[in-house]
Symmetry: C2
Subunit: 215 residues, 2 copies
């Protein structure tokens, strides 16, 4: 047996009372799904390759033909390219991510778009961080999804501020807790810590802060 990585804390350094710790059963369940990913990606990529070859052949066979046919092939090819892009994003998560400089504004925009949340709050382009983009985008998406609560047409007030060699992103949490948020917060907290940063909640439960190394 080994001690568990500590779950995220509140601003006083005590365990966060708002988001209970992730359970072993949940952590291993998620890890089980993750452990299937490399084989799954490999199998999908191979099927996708066969699909694109068939569509390329169709393109050649129907050149200068019925415009409806040409358009339908183009639609199918576009969907294949999008599937491939989704696959590549997921694959990047399974690999060690090189640290790259990226503006916090850009990072937050990508993460918020994934979970359909519109973020409010101006962020200076001068605030950039040095992190693994794939895992941190996913971690921020989890954190923003939790902080934005439930419902449709969600929006979230955010602000970014420089800290010593770091940038703090503050999410003004919705008072409505989203369901099964503790696992999302635990994973987001792990990623932030692995990147040399930290995630913490305010004791009042109205703010979540993600600190990332400045770049």
């Amino acid at each position: 047996m080994s001690e568990r990585v500590p779950d995220h804390l509140d601003e006083t350094g005590a365990p966060c009372a708002r988001h209970p710790a992730i359970s072993d059963a949940t952590l291993y369940q998620l890890a089980m799904v993750g452990s299937r990913a490399p084989a799954f990606h490999h199998d999908c990529a191979s099927k996708l390759q066969g699909l694109v070859m068939a569509l390329d052949e169709l393109t050649e066979l129907t050149e200068n033909g019925d415009p409806q046919v040409v358009r339908a092939i183009e639609t199918a090819l576009e969907a294949s390219r999008e599937l491939n892009a989704l696959l590549n994003i997921n694959r990047a998560l399974t690999r060690p991510a090189a640290r790259t400089r990226i503006a916090m504004r850009e990072l937050v925009a990508r993460a918020a778009e994934r979970v359909g949340v519109s973020v409010q709050g101006a962020m200076s382009d001068a605030l950039s961080v040095m992190i693994g983009v794939a895992p941190v985008t996913h971690a921020l998406a989890l954190a923003i999804d939790v902080a934005a609560g439930s419902g449709r047409g969600r929006s979230l007030a955010v602000e970014a501020a420089p800290a010593a060699s770091a940038v703090d992103l503050v999410l003004h949490s919705s008072p409505l807790p989203a369901p099964s948020v503790n696992e999302a917060v635990a994973i987001a907290s792990f990623v932030a810590a692995r990147e040399g940063g930290r995630l913490w909640c305010s004791t009042a439960g109205d703010r979540m802060t993600i600190r990332l190394p400045a770049g």
Copy 2:
């Protein structure tokens, strides 16, 4: 902090010396990949639906046309169906699996096929287990992959024997340890325990046993 689920043991009840415990960093890394799965599956399913609609339209537009075109569309449709089947298998892993009766022979055949291992050893069809098929197939695939070692054209000697209200599957391990096997064994061990069974290694390192509840 909480105590970790114990890693798998050897036949004497001591921690297995052959497969070191999974590290927190690895466990959380796998869980991070797993936590992206629901959104990934949703996005892939949506793109795949658009793709199949375009291919169905193509089928209608080219009815009774050039046989080469018809064949290429059929190839593309077949690849889409296979992609969809892969997606459904992965989705099943993220959901609670109802326990189903399945012959151990069938379960082992499916798992071994996934990792390209040919299993040797006759198994009676009378030996059946009552388990969640999706997670246990994945767990057995991980265990078989580890036990079969590395190399091409791998084969593995297996045997199944009835135990009290259970069936024991014994994998005769290859002497060559596969790389990064400890995480695979830890996940397989977790799944076996969750199903009410158990995974253990022989102290000599030549056998791995997976016990599953009889059905």
